[in-house]
């Protein structure tokens, strides 16, 4: 009562909100600011995902001619064929799994050891960190082209000419099925270890030095400090590196596309030795225009990535609960 008499504008009386203010305190500005992103997002992110789900249950090609190449629903046909019968897809799945396991585990080890080796803040280390990080900002295609030369099968190939000085006969690096995946794994580590290293360095730097000081006072040696302080405290970074690394590795495309072409305009190299999921998707979608089938491949890719991320998070959670 008193306040109302002294300063009536300070007293609170709920007013009925009108117009745009009904939904937002900031009125129409909220809508105008949100609209460009949301509209574009609906058209170019939400719609394609929903549409691809629909396509994945269809036989669909860009022509859709009744007589030549009819389109229409096939139910789960695409999926059952992919999972049960398509041996090329099985090959792609197998290759990708091998590649992902190798690239992620070795990549994790490489980036962790790099970060430990280069963590001291000296001038030399700063330079080395830059060098190891360079591939992350270099065009993947440019790098793949250099590797293409390194692994050339004739004696002009760099690796072969290096070997020939030791008297070893030229090896057909890119035409030997057992070497395809290891070469791709090597390229992935060369290209990705620096990025993981930067993440680990940030994680290392976030560990307060006093933990180590306390540990030293308690008589912990170098190895104990690593085992009981560094490793546990780096775990969040490790989970992040593994999850993002796995997702990235499943999507490998450029290396396969450029280094392992096959003569008939298809992808995957000799005997599909380097065929992976995304190259297979590209092959089905844009070489053969089996767009429905390719969409089903994309959704299987999603299912795999999603499950693995979930498992990753669950496993780390349950390990935490154990402690």
């Amino acid at each position: 009562m008193a306040i109302k008499q002294i300063a009536p504008e300070l007293s609170y009386t709920p007013t009925k909100k009108k117009g745009f203010y009904k939904f937002s305190d900031s009125g129409i500005a909220s809508y105008l600011m949100l609209a460009p992103f949301v509209l574009l997002f609906l058209v170019w992110a939400v719609y394609p995902v929903l549409s691809s789900l629909r396509l994945s249950f269809m036989r669909y090609n860009a022509i859709c001619d009744e007589a030549l190449s009819p389109c229409g629903s096939v139910g789960f046909g695409n999926y059952t064929y992919l999972i049960l019968q398509d041996s090329r897809f099985h090959k792609a799945l197998f290759n990708t799994s091998l590649y992902v396991i190798g690239a992620v585990t070795l990549g994790l080890l490489a980036s962790l050891s790099l970060s430990l080796a280069l963590q001291a803040d000296t001038r030399a280390n700063r330079v080395l960190r830059v060098i190891f990080f360079l591939p992350s900002v270099t065009s993947g295609i440019a790098v793949v082209l250099v590797w293409g030369w390194v692994f050339r099968g004739d004696d002009i190939g760099l690796l072969n000419s290096l070997l020939s000085t030791f008297g070893v006969a030229p090896v057909e690096w890119l035409a030997t099925p057992s070497l395809a995946i290891p070469i791709l794994i090597f390229m992935s580590i060369w290209g990705g270890a620096g990025f993981g290293m930067v993440l680990f360095l940030a994680g290392l730097n976030a560990i307060p030095a006093m933990y180590y000081e306390a540990a030293v006072i308690d008589g912990a040696n170098r190895r104990d400090r690593f085992r009981y302080i560094t490793l546990p405290l780096l775990k969040p970074v490790m989970v992040y590196v593994v999850i993002t690394g796995t997702i990235g590795a499943f999507q490998i495309f450029e290396g396969v596309y450029l280094l392992f072409p096959t003569s008939v305009g298809s992808i995957g190299g000799l005997k599909d030795m380097a065929l992976m999921i995304v190259p297979y998707l590209y092959d089905m979608g844009f070489n053969r225009f089996r767009l429905g089938y390719a969409s089903a491949v994309a959704w299987i890719l999603f299912a795999i990535i999603f499950t693995i991320s979930l498992i990753n998070i669950r496993v780390t959670k349950s390990l935490e609960d154990l402690r």
Binding site: L34, F37, G140, Q251
Partner: protein, 323 residues
């Protein structure tokens, strides 16, 4: 003024965080016998890291004759510019030792290889500016407006990050086709604009900025757009710079989407042009020098950008990874 101070404070806090370290040496611990050699593997690895770049640079200045040498020369016997531009080149007659330089190829395309630079530059800058503008506007509304359904909208945006982008690849292609955008800049730019990660990152960053700053401006009677341009944007600067660099490098190196939507050479971006170049002279050793020249030119801009913005870059990765 106030905004500037907060920004400074955040920056300082960040730097402090970086300086605290898991990098701890016990001054009383004796080092092992072999610690003198502990750095040797790192230096060997450094050589492996640099080698592809070294090869790109040196072999782009070698003559065809020198490129064919076994074993290859480490340093060019004679540095020649022919892989880029050979002044003696005459398209009407073939002569030995005279090369068709990089900028003398792609004769059917206006400006030759330079055209791809223009394409890539235009696409990258446009996408980077627009995507950050609409992304930051949306992030501001999500983080700082009281807005009905904003939680739901934000959830959809974050959720979309779990879906690999290849899932929307085929419907995206069909949509671009229906709009008649195939082989145009529209197809490059518009679908690339809504980036969920940018909104996510900026919302995270904004939520660490106190609401009072914005409330105060509102009480002073500032309109929403004024608040956005005068207070929010300056506060977001560090985060925006990091996102700008990421987006620019990502778009510059983008390959699969451009590969699908370009149908004529003159609309290719640089990575697609590299692939075209590679496929045009697949096994021919004579084109290797030209390919290396192109790979070098394509990689340079992002590497330079990285060198110029290193601090922001590394901090950006740390911010996005460790949160």
């Amino acid at each position: 003024m106030n905004a500037k101070r907060t920004e400074k404070r955040l920056e300082r806090k960040n730097d402090e965080l970086m300086e605290r370290s898991g990098n701890f040496e016990n001054p009383f611990e004796t080092k092992g016998k072999f610690s003198k050699y502990a750095r040797v593997p790192i230096y060997l690895l450094t050589v492996v890291m640099i080698a592809p770049y070294y090869w790109m640079i040196t072999s782009s200045f070698k003559s065809v004759k020198e490129l064919q040498k076994v074993p290859p020369t480490l340093i060019p016997e004679k540095w020649i510019p022919g892989n880029y531009w050979d002044p003696n080149y005459d398209p009407n007659m073939y002569q030995q030792d005279i090369m068709q330089g990089l900028f003398q190829r792609f004769t059917k395309v206006q400006f030759g290889f330079g055209r791809f630079f223009l394409n890539s530059f235009f696409i990258t800058t446009t996408i980077t500016i627009l995507t950050l503008l609409i992304g930051s506007l949306a992030a501001y509304v999500v983080a700082k407006h009281r807005f009905k359904a904003k939680r739901a909208i934000y959830l959809v945006i974050i959720g979309s990050m779990m879906i690999p982008w290849q899932v929307g690849l085929i419907p995206g292609f069909l949509l671009v086709d229906d709009l008649g955008w195939l082989n145009t800049f529209w197809a490059y730019i518009i679908p690339a604009l809504p980036k969920a990660f940018i909104v996510f990152f900026l919302v995270q960053y904004l939520s660490s900025i106190p609401d009072e700053l914005i409330e105060a401006a509102r009480i002073d009677g500032a309109r929403e757009w004024t608040i956005y341009f005068r207070i929010v944007l300056p506060l977001l600067k560090p985060a925006m710079i990091a996102m700008m660099i990421f987006t620019a490098i990502g778009e510059w190196n983008n390959f699969l989407w451009p590969l699908i939507i370009t149908q004529s050479q003159d609309m290719a971006n640089l990575p697609v042009a590299l692939a075209l170049l590679k496929n045009s002279g697949a096994g021919n050793i004579g084109t290797q020098g030209v390919i290396m020249a192109a790979a070098l030119l394509v990689s340079m801009p992002t590497i330079i950008l990285y060198f110029l913005t290193q601090r922001h870059f590394i901090r950006g990765i740390a911010l996005s990874g460790i949160k």
